[in-house]
């Protein structure tokens, strides 16, 4: 069950025989396609993938991928996946979840999975709404957002998924727009190679209950001004004309125009996704304008499952007993005749 390159597998091989049942126009279709294209590129056997989800529109995902999968119960995908992975660390385990599934009812398992740094990938479809239950606000809904449970406007301040990931001592966070299959595909492949918990936020448009939530950010016209796509080791530059960039000013990031006020490309910050200290990453996940896309944080350490396996092995080596019987009969036993 170890890794291998398997050049034969294609998009089609990863499709399941189930009809896809999201609303027409939903970004979930785009995410699915991106994943189906990414999977063959990961160079692993089909039977070694397990997709685990909770409940929600997004959580229907596993049914549509022809690998192993579990459509679990609401909020528990991270915990179920933990069991799948620890029982068989050779598997490539993916949690497909929504903003409600992962951060409302599932918040605890989400932060604990991240804290433990188990080699599991979390793809969170953040549409800032509960889709499946037909439109209530979620933990990422904005202040003022009108939904069926906030008809006068939402008053609960939202989580920032990236900030919550860092708060949970997360080692990996990436963000990607739900309308960019290319970027998703690349990111999924990269994330698969990361040894630890990868937390990936997809800004996913729900056409029915929260249409246009990310319009300003993801709109093809304006995206290059409103998004910054960063890469480790590269300057953090954006704008249609690549004429804007980020610099550090005291404790804060600032957007500057290259060529103005004597600012040159050299002044622009280089992204360091590998720096263990999360300071820069916290700034980046919080940035509102532009919104940062890409691998914001990627700190490769030994993952929990690796340590877990090592520990199992090292303890086994020191076992005081050859087998169970030996333990049963060890110590204070006595004979009745």
């Amino acid at each position: 069950m170890s890794e291998q390159t398997n050049p034969v597998l294609t998009f089609k091989d990863f499709q399941s025989d189930q009809e896809v049942r999201w609303c027409p126009g939903c970004d979930d279709y785009i995410i699915l396609r991106a994943m189906l294209k990414a999977l063959p590129e990961m160079g692993r056997k089909k039977e070694d993938f397990v997709f685990v989800s909770g409940i929600g529109c997004s959580s229907r995902f596993p049914y549509y991928v022809g690998t192993y999968g579990i459509h679990g119960i609401h909020g528990r995908a991270a915990a179920i996946a933990t069991g799948v992975k620890l029982a068989n660390p050779e598997l490539s385990v993916w949690v497909m979840t929504g903003d409600g599934d992962a951060m409302a009812i599932g918040g605890n398992h989400f932060i604990h999975l991240i804290r433990r740094n188990i080699n599991i990938k979390i793809v969170m479809f953040n549409n800032e709404i509960y889709g499946l239950t037909k439109g209530q606000f979620s933990p990422t809904s904005l202040i003022g957002q009108k939904t069926y449970t906030s008809p006068y406007g939402n008053i609960q301040p939202p989580f920032n998924p990236g900030q919550l990931t860092i708060g949970s001592s997360g080692k990996y966070f990436a963000r990607v727009p739900g309308n960019d299959p290319k970027m998703m595909e690349e990111l999924f492949v990269k994330a698969e190679k990361f040894k630890g918990t990868a937390s990936i936020e997809v800004l996913q448009n729900c056409v029915i209950f929260n249409d246009g939530a990310f319009e300003e950010i993801t709109n093809k016209e304006t995206e290059s001004e409103n998004q910054i796509r960063i890469e480790h080791g590269k300057k953090m530059i954006f704008g249609k004309n690549k004429d804007k960039g980020l610099i550090l000013k005291g404790f804060k990031l600032e957007v500057v125009n290259i060529g103005e006020n004597g600012i040159t490309e050299d002044d622009i910050l280089v992204h360091d996704a590998h720096e263990a200290d999360p300071t820069l990453h916290l700034m980046l996940v919080r940035l509102q304008n532009p919104v940062v896309m890409g691998e914001i944080r990627r700190i490769e350490e030994t993952s929990y499952d690796e340590v877990y396996v090592e520990r199992m092995e090292s303890v086994a080596k020191k076992s005081p007993f050859k087998n169970l019987d030996e333990m049963f009969f060890s110590g204070d036993t006595y004979v009745v005749e």
């Binding site: 409940i55 459509h71 933990t82 068989n88 007993f321």
Partner: protein
Amino acid sequence: MTEKKLKLTGGTVDSVVIRFVGDSGDGMQLTGTQFSDTSAMMGNDIATFPNYPSEIRAPQGSIYGVSGFQVQIGHATVHTPGDEVDVLVAMNPAALKTNLSSVPVGKTIIVDTDSFNKKNLQKAEYDENPLLTGELNNFVVIEAPITTLTRESIADIGLDNKAMTRSKNMFALGMVFWMFSRPLKYTETFIDKKFAGKTQLIEANKRALRAGFNFAETIELISSAYTILPAKMDPGIYRIISGNTATAWGFLAASEKSGRPIFLGSYPITPATEILQELTAKKYFGAKTFQAEDEIAGISTAIGASFSGHLAITTTSGPGLALKGEAIGLAVMTELPIVIVDVQRAGPSTGLPTKPEQSDLLQAMYGRHGESPVIVVAAKSPADCFNMAFEASRLAMEHMTPVILLTDGYIANGSEPWKIKKTEDLPIIYPNDLKSSREEWMPYKRDPETLAREWVLPGTPGFEHRVGGLEKKDGTGDVNQSPENHQLMVKLRAEKICRVKNNIPLMQVDGAQEGDLLVIGWGGTYGSLFTAVNHLFESGQKIGLMHFSYLNPMPKNTEEILKKFKKFIICELNMGQLHTVMNSKFPEYDYFKFNKVQGLPFTVLELTQKFEQILNNQ
């Protein structure tokens, strides 16, 4: 030390109940365990009952800080830690106060007079010193300045006062060892191990132990010690085992006999935590344990691990079982094997968290939404936890279903001799593995006999499939919402559990096989029920005991047995939960109820009286 009022005479007795009580910090659990183990090794049968406070370390001398350990040792088989105490060792006034009512007139009480000072008397809410008021006149009271004597015996070792005082439990133990003619060597070996490297402590504890022993021997006042002959037990090799350890070991054995590694996902909770701790410590046998963030995560990880092909377990107590209900439903729908252990404690809510009760039966049977039947089994004694953990695992994997195993704080913490089972003598477990060819196979294709679906693990090429909580189409396992299919699947899931009765042993009745009164019980009350029934049976009554280990489904011959008796009484440590189940399954019979909800086991006496009353038609 002075002997008071009544003469203490030794001799040979059938069985004796000893209770050690003192402050949580006084080491009473250890003292009791040493006495029990030593007795077991001398061939006595034993049954123990630790009873500790819910505070970690309550203030010294306080009433709610009293910790106790009771053991019954016998030369005949003993099934309970005993009702009434023959010898009470009370290390302070609070311990005396809270335990005196269990000691019948004429029995022996050993007290540490050093502890009967004003402060301690006040904390125990004694206005006057009971050793002086005459209120103990009807007991054999052995007053010994145990603390002082202990300190004196080890004064030259170089320990400070506090450390010296800590050895006083060994002194008391030494006295009791002498009374019952027990050798010191087991405890001495134990001390060597426990304090390995700390020579001062080894020396102090051993010396205190021997000092107590010698003290008891030399003072004239104990004219002769009790003797208990070895019990007539099945020949074999034995060890003393507690219920929680036995549960853990039963799982290890099931793992060995099924070839499936263990995965245990749990969240600590009293009195179930030791199972997690034991399996974690025994990691070297390949048991994977995972301390989750909460109970829901515990069972969810187990479900994931089951999907990955492990013998998946989660352990908890009542409040945790309540939290796991939704996830059990997922395992029912996905038809994945998991074992859920509920070490019951007294509820509702946090209740009396360190006291046993049997009040989770209905929750185990019905505590989920929708029609979600599962197998429910229960262990009847500490050693039986081994069998039932094994059985729960076997049934889960052979029938592809969740199984709830009920034990309770009484048998989980209690211990008794276990006739060690060799793994080769245990039955092989046959998980319902993939047996179909790729062509015939479907995720919900069922074994025609058991109706279990096949267990196909990720990593198996060509058998990729998805499971989930939405209703499944019969056979294919596709999501399906059709009315007829739903009805069919509800029935199939029920029938699958029902057919488990073909794979469990028939009910064996103890005592009379037919007759006047059938006593019905389940789980951890077996010892008390058996002792009471057997006593009446041997005295000529037509009384039998039907004790359930398998609660859902019940053994096939259950109704057959009911037909053979005239009257029925269901005895439980709850308000009548098995009564509800029996009425729903066999409503044709008229059941008396006998219930106790005090966080305490039944006493044999109260049972015997109740049974006699019914037998005599009162």
